[in-house]
Amino acid sequence: MIYLRYLLLLIPLWTAQADIVVLEANESPPYWSNSLPGGGLGSELVQAISDAVGLQTQINFVPLSRMIEDKNNNDLGNPEFYMAQQEFAAIIPFAITEAAIFYYRPRYNHALKLTGFNDLKQYRLGVLKGTLIDRHAFEQMGLHFESSYAQASLFKKLKLGRIDLVFEIDLVGRQMIAQLFPEQKDDFIRQPLPNSISPIAIMLDAEYPHAVEIAAQYRKGLAAIIANGRYQQIVEKYYPDGQLPSGWFANLQRFQQLYSF
C-alpha cells in the first residue's frame, strides 16, 4: 500500500496528455472557420502546436460578442481586443496579421500612389464600423471615411464605385474578393501596410487551471513546429508563391517579447 502512495506522488499533478484545453474562436475566415479544411490558418497552427507536444486542444466556435463578454474563457485572436475586459495568465502570439488598402483597378487609368494619409484625401475610404481608432485626428487631416457593418458590403461598394478604397486585413480582403468576384479578382489591387502588423495569439484566462504549465507547452510546441518546418508549410498554404509578409518571423518574435509574462 505504501508503495502505491509513493507511486501516486510521482505522477505529476497535471499532465498535458490528461486534459483537453478548450479555446474559443469566432468564425472569421480564412483565420478561423468551421467550413474550411483544417479550420483555417489559425486553427491549423494551433493544432500543429498542440500535436508537437502531445497537448489536446479543442477549438469551439462561438459568436464574437460572447467571446468578449465571457471573462473566464480562453480566447484566440488579437489580444488588444480582449485585454481591456479580461485578465490572462498567459498570451502566446503564434501568427500575425497585416492590413492592406484595396482598390478596383478598372476605375482608374493608372496605378494609385498611396504612400501616406495625405494621398488619401481625394478618396472616399471604406472601413469596417468601429475600426477607426484615431477618428479625431483623421477628421482634422480632412479624410473622408465611410463605415460598413460587414466586410462583404465594403467590397461590393468598392466594385460599384460607391467608395474608392477599402482598408481591410490583407488575407480577409483577398478571401472576400475571391468569394464575391472570382472572375474579376485580379482587377482588385492590394497595397499592404507594413506598419499595421498585429499578433494572433492563444490567450489563457488568469483563473484557468494549470494555465502557466499549458502556456509553457504551447510555447514549446510553437518553437518545435517553426524548427521542423511544419509552421512554414501551413502558413505558405495561405500565402502561396512567396506572398508571406516580409518580416513575419521578426514581428512574431517581437510580439512574443511584448507578451512574455
Partner: protein, 277 residues
C-alpha cells in the same frame, strides 16, 4: 404579440445594436495614424477610462490634453492606448519609445533616472465597498490601520506599502476586475477616481450600481503623468518643449476649458480633480 414578447424583441434589438460595433471592431484592422509608417515619436498610454480610452473619439481627457499641448508646440507624435503597464514598460525600456501616459506605473530607481515625469492631471480618489458585504461601510476616517485584516484591491503596479504596513491584505487586478472581485466579495475595498468607477458602474454593473458605496473622507489622490524617455534621441528636448506647451495651455485657459468639457462644468472639476499647479 404580447407585451412580454415585444419587450424581449426590443431588448434583443438593443443588445445587437450595442454589441455589433464591438464585433466589427474585433475583426477588422485597427486604423491608426501610424498605419503607413511608424512615427518616430511613439507615445504609449495606459488604458484608464474615461481619462484614457479608445472608446472615446478624442481618446479621453488625458489624451486630449497631451494632443493639445503637442499641437501648440507643433510636435508630431502618435499616441497608442494599451491595456497593461508591462506592455508600456516594454515599449519604453526595450524599444525606446518617446513617452508614456498613465498612472500607477512603477519603475526602479535606475529606470527613473532615465525618465522625465511631467504631471498632467491630479485626480481625487475614494474608497469603495460593496454594500451587501459591508452594509455599514468601513471604519474609515483617514487612518489605514482601522482597516487592518481587510483585503484591498490594488491596481497591478500600485504602491501598496502603506496598506501592507497597516496589516491590510492586497489583491491586484485592473479596475474592472477589482470591481468584479468587490461584487463577488473576494476583496473588501478598492480605491479609484469616482469618474473611473462610475464609467464601469454604468457599463458593467448597471443593475447593481446602487450597491457600490463610496466612502468618505477621500482616499487621497492619483496623478496621471506623461513620462518622457531620455533614451529616445529627442526625449529630453521634446520633454522640455512639451512642458512649455502644457504651461501655455494652462496660461491661456485651454487646460481649464478641456477639464470643464470632460468633467461637465467647473463644479465637477473641483469635485473630481485637484489643481495641477
Amino acid at each position: 404579440m404580447n407585451i412580454k414578447k415585444a419587450l424581449t424583441r426590443l431588448t434583443v434589438m438593443l443588445l445587437v445594436m450595442v454589441i455589433y460595433p464591438v464585433t466589427a471592431l474585433a475583426t477588422g484592422p485597427r486604423i491608426k495614424q501610424d498605419l503607413f509608417t511608424p512615427n518616430a515619436n511613439s507615445i504609449y498610454a495606459l488604458d484608464f477610462p474615461p481619462f484614457i480610452t479608445t472608446e472615446l473619439n478624442d481618446g479621453g481627457m488625458a489624451v486630449e490634453l497631451v494632443n493639445t499641448a503637442l499641437q501648440i508646440e507643433k510636435i508630431s507624435a502618435s499616441i497608442n492606448i494599451l491595456p497593461l503597464p508591462r506592455m508600456m514598460k516594454y515599449y519604453v525600456l526595450q524599444e525606446k519609445a518617446l513617452a508614456l501616459i498613465g498612472n500607477h506605473l512603477s519603475f526602479t530607481a535606475d529606470q527613473q533616472k532615465e525618465l522625465i515625469f511631467i504631471p498632467l492631471l491630479r485626480l481625487k480618489e475614494h474608497y469603495y465597498v460593496y454594500q451587501p458585504k459591508h452594509p455599514e461601510g468601513l471604519p474609515w476616517q483617514g487612518d489605514l490601520k482601522a482597516l487592518a485584516k481587510l483585503v484591498y484591491g490594488a491596481n497591478p503596479e500600485e504602491d501598496v506599502a502603506a496598506y501592507q504596513q497597516a496589516g491590510i491584505q492586497v489583491e491586484t487586478g485592473n479596475t474592472l476586475t477589482l470591481m468584479e472581485k468587490l461584487k463577488a466579495e473576494k476583496i473588501d475595498f478598492m480605491g479609484n477616481s469616482e469618474l473611473a468607477v462610475n464609467w464601469f458602474l454604468d457599463r458593467n454593473f448597471s443593475t447593481d450600481k446602487a450597491k457600490f458605496s463610496k466612502l468618505e473622507p477621500g482616499a487621497g489622490e492619483e496623478t496621471i503623468f506623461i513620462i518622457f524617455n531620455k533614451n529616445h534621441p529627442q526625449g529630453e528636448a521634446l520633454a522640455k518643449q512639451f512642458k512649455q506647451g502644457l504651461d501655455a495651455i494652462i496660461a491661456n485657459g485651454q487646460y481649464k476649458a478641456l477639464l470643464e468639457k470632460h468633467f461637465g462644468g467647473s463644479e465637477a472639476v473641483n469635485r473630481y480633480s485637484l489643481p495641477l499647479q
